[in-house]
């Protein structure tokens, strides 16, 4: 079992709502250049390129074929992975396995999305479109109003599924919507210390978030993520080659990766929904224990110094650390300031997905940010003050049914 390290992270630029000045290849290329710049590697040293995004958002099938040249992939082995919201981390895992398998010594992983080219809402509708159409065969009442089966499609608009999850979580954790306000405020304030984050709001407070309208109780407008454009690139290297290629003494070692999936926990209109979206046994009972075991971590609360979780909606920043066994009750923890950058268990010092969401990149950015923390390289003031020995990065996706976890550390696991 080979040890693999992340030796550099590259972003194309700050994540923003629109990039009307570049097309997709032009947007991604600087991220590749930035990642390479921070190493002693030449482009020819890259053994394999693993790439991914959510293809229906920009309306391009197999986009990696088009920008072959811009990312320096022409003439190289290329693998494309796409798993909904967890794409970024699944791509990272793909690159990890390319190296861990022994087939390659160096892998470049690329996660990206350009949301201004397409409509994210329409893209997301595409997940359930055929199932929704099938309902029409069974004669729902189309006249509008409360009943008639159209309620089956409803759920408070597109925030519907997430709202159910938020409400179910609050009921379990005995929290209130005010806790979500606090979490969103912390995220936006953290983002202001991250030069690459999209929505930056220095010194944001819960009161600022509470001013935004309640969209689908308990979620407010201020609890939801933006649609961002940007790319994230990382270089992974096998243990034997780290000294040769890394331009830093502190690299981030991949201690474990794990993933698990369940049936859809929302929108399961046709096949029946038996899973609570706020339960996430795939994380709590399956993937997280597996990852900690592989990483040799017995007491996550003591041994992990920070985490980057995928919070498309602010309540998830409260929920996921609990499912990852890092915090007992996040609502209490945030009341006591324990989740802040200088707290006991910093959560999303980067600002998280709720501040920056280029979907194909987002789950990879969680790994990238966690690795920057381990390497001590987070810019702009979002580096956590304690030395980070171990960090957890997490992603979710699909109909709240996929989970991916990566555990990073400042030294490799002894094998």
């Amino acid at each position: 079992m080979r040890n693999v390290a992340i030796i550099s992270v590259g972003y194309n630029d700050r994540f923003v709502a629109k990039r009307p000045d570049v097309n997709i290849p032009e947007m991604i290329q600087p991220a590749v250049a930035n990642a390479l710049k921070k190493t002693k590697m030449k482009h020819s040293d890259i053994g394999v390129v693993v790439e991914g995004n959510m293809p229906t958002f920009e309306g391009i099938n197999y986009p990696h074929l088009w920008f072959s040249d811009h990312i320096g992939a022409a003439g190289k082995p290329v693998l494309r992975i796409s798993t909904g919201g967890t794409t970024g981390m699944s791509v990272f895992h793909g690159g990890y396995y390319c190296v861990a398998s022994g087939m390659f010594d160096v892998a470049m992983v690329i996660g990206w999305e350009k949301h201004d080219e397409g409509d994210a809402q329409v893209g997301l509708m595409g997940i359930v479109l055929p199932e929704a159409f099938s309902l029409f065969q069974f004669g729902p009442d189309m006249s509008g109003g409360r009943g008639g089966g159209m309620g089956l499609l409803g759920g408070g608009g597109s925030t519907g599924g997430a709202s159910f999850q938020a409400l179910s979580y609050l009921a379990k954790a005995k929290g209130t919507p005010e806790h979500i306000d606090k979490m969103a405020a912390q995220a936006r304030a953290n983002a202001a210390k991250n030069p690459y984050a999209h929505l930056q709001h220095p010194n944001c407070t819960a009161a600022d978030i509470a001013k935004t309208p309640m969209v689908s109780y308990p979620l407010r407008y201020g609890h939801t993520c933006p649609a961002s454009c940007g790319a994230c690139v990382m270089l992974l290297v096998a243990e034997e080659k780290v000294k040769k290629f890394a331009d830093t003494d502190r690299v981030a070692w991949v201690k474990a990766v794990a993933t698990a999936s369940s049936d859809g926990t929302t929108g399961n209109l046709v096949d029946g929904q038996i899973t609570d979206p706020a339960e996430q046994a795939i994380c709590e009972k399956i993937a997280a224990p597996k990852a900690y075991k592989l990483a040799g971590i017995q007491n996550p609360k003591k041994e992990i110094q920070m985490c980057e979780v995928y919070d498309g909606f602010a309540h998830q920043e409260l929920m996921w650390p609990e499912k990852l066994h890092l915090v007992d009750n996040s609502c209490k923890a945030i009341d006591e300031g324990r989740l802040a950058i200088d707290g006991e268990m910093p959560v999303n010092p980067s600002g998280g997905v709720v501040s920056t969401n280029a979907i194909g990149a987002s789950a990879m950015v969680r790994v990238a940010e966690a690795s920057l923390q381990v390497m001590g390289l987070a810019e702009g003031g979002h580096q956590v003050p304690r030395r980070v020995k171990n960090a957890v990065a997490h992603g979710w996706g699909g109909l709240f049914q996929f989970v991916t976890i990566t555990i990073l550390g400042d030294e490799p696991v002894k094998r």
């Binding site: 009307p20 097309n23 065969q137 729902p140 608009g157 309208p213 109780y217 029946g272």
Partner: protein, 152 residues
């Protein structure tokens, strides 16, 4: 990093033509559900191996990966497992009519069923609140037979 001034370059447009696709879905569960409405019953399927009751009830069990045929009737009464209230659209503009969407777990079922709740004040709703499915007086065996959920 400050936001930069970006000059717009040329644009080309295209559409994802959905008429290129024709989907087929096996909707055995919905078929059974609407058939049950003819007799004002809520019908689902139960796995004979693990006992999970699915409503709507597909004809396979996802835990055991076997075909299942046992049809079971569940109560029209249940508890609200989860809910959300639609107060504004995604851009933040308030909606004309507030809607309460609920996921109800019928007594006897392991599944949540989605629907709208008819209630005067949404603040009264809570997780665990008893609710029941209201069907039309005259049912035809379609989803339009569903009127709403109502608190019990």
């Amino acid at each position: 990093m400050d936001k930069k001034e970006r000059k717009e370059t040329r644009q080309t447009k295209d559409t994802l033509d959905m008429s290129l696709f024709k989907w087929r879905i096996e909707a055995d569960g919905l078929e059974l559900l609407v058939q049950g409405f003819k007799e004002k019953k809520v019908l689902g399927r139960k796995c004979h191996k693990c006992g999970t009751v699915y409503v709507p009830g597909p004809s396979y069990c996802r835990k055991c990966l076997i075909d299942i045929q046992d049809v079971v009737e569940v109560s029209k009464k249940g508890k609200i497992a989860c809910y959300t209230v639609g107060l504004a659209d995604v851009r933040g503009n308030p909606v004309e009519e507030i809607s309460v969407s609920v996921q109800v777990k019928f007594d006897g079922s392991d599944s949540w069923m989605l629907g709208n709740l008819e209630i005067d004040d949404w603040k009264k709703v809570y997780v665990g609140m008893p609710a029941e499915l209201v069907l039309r007086e005259e049912t035809n065996g379609t989803l339009a037979d569903i009127v709403c959920f109502r608190p019990v």
